[in-house]
């Protein structure tokens, strides 16, 4: 039973995402619920080889929390960055900050990098080839270590919990 289920839904998260997307696009009608389900099964099955290392989500509530945090950070950071952009340019102190990574999963690292980029004020500029460091460019920072710590606290640790533990 379980194996049958796993074979049908190699990634439940993905299937769920697809099904939701379908319903969002077409409206929540019974017909589309069925059709969306069919697609949510078929598409991941068909493209299975293309996402070999997407890990399953182990902690769904943590994910919700993480998303909220990110959204909040985006809102706040936007305001701070807006001030920098509009204010005198002499004040900004940009920096390249290499951040040691505790994450080991590629997908989680990529998500972290994306999150860093999405929150205004930081852009993830590179991931070292050995996946040990994330290079962050920050628009205005006075304490690199504090920045690293903040990212670690707010994003990396939750991600680790969601995907790896």
């Amino acid at each position: 039973m379980k194996r049958w289920f796993e074979r049908l839904f190699p990634s439940l998260t993905l299937s769920l995402l697809l099904w939701l997307t379908w319903l969002l696009l077409n409206g929540f009608t019974p017909g589309h619920a069925v059709l969306g389900l069919v697609l949510a099964v078929l598409l991941p099955l068909g493209t299975r080889p293309f996402w070999p290392n997407v890990p399953g989500i182990r902690n769904l509530p943590r994910l919700a929390g993480f998303i909220l945090v990110v959204l909040w950070d985006i809102l706040v950071a936007n305001l701070t960055v807006a001030r920098k952009v509009l204010g005198p340019l002499g004040d900004i102190r940009p920096a390249f900050v290499p951040m040691p990574l505790a994450l080991e999963d590629d997908f989680a690292i990529a998500l972290l990098a994306s999150t860093v980029s999405l929150t205004p004020g930081t852009v993830s500029a590179d991931v070292s080839l050995d996946r040990k460091f994330l290079l962050i460019h920050a628009l205005d920072v006075d304490d690199e270590q504090a920045l690293i710590e903040e990212i670690r606290q707010r994003y990396e640790r939750p991600l680790k919990e969601i995907f790896e533990c």
Binding site: I74, A82, V85, L89, R93, P94, L118, T119, A125
Partner: protein, 110 residues
């Protein structure tokens, strides 16, 4: 009620527009490529976000029914825009673009 929503829609819209503009101002104004790279993130997040919120509200209000499909735009953008920024940053580092004086840290060899 309608007026409230109308105001809400208007507010979201304008907020979106303002942040889109700020992002573009950043793009135009900031001194080096790496700092300019921060501009568009604003446009992506709050800029588009604001207009999407406005649209969402507006059409839900019009149809008297929740219309969430615009959320997908934001979803897709949140997935794809960081990749663009990341790739551009890599390109800039590869090209060894000039940094603003006083930038701490070093870009990586590509």
């Amino acid at each position: 009620m309608d007026a409230v929503i109308e105001w809400l829609v208007a507010a979201c819209m304008v907020i979106g527009g303002v942040f889109a503009l700020i992002g573009s101002i950043g793009l135009a104004r900031l001194p080096d490529f790496y700092t300019r790279l921060h501009g568009p993130t604003k446009a992506t997040t709050l800029g588009v976000g604001g207009t999407i919120a406005a649209s969402l509200l507006y059409f839900s209000w019009q149809a008297r029914q929740l219309q969430l499909h615009e959320v997908l735009i934001i979803l897709f953008l949140f997935i794809t825009a960081p990749v663009s920024a990341h790739m551009l940053a890599k390109a800039a580092m590869h090209r060894q673009l000039k940094r603003l004086k006083g930038t701490r840290g070093e870009p990586w060899e590509q």
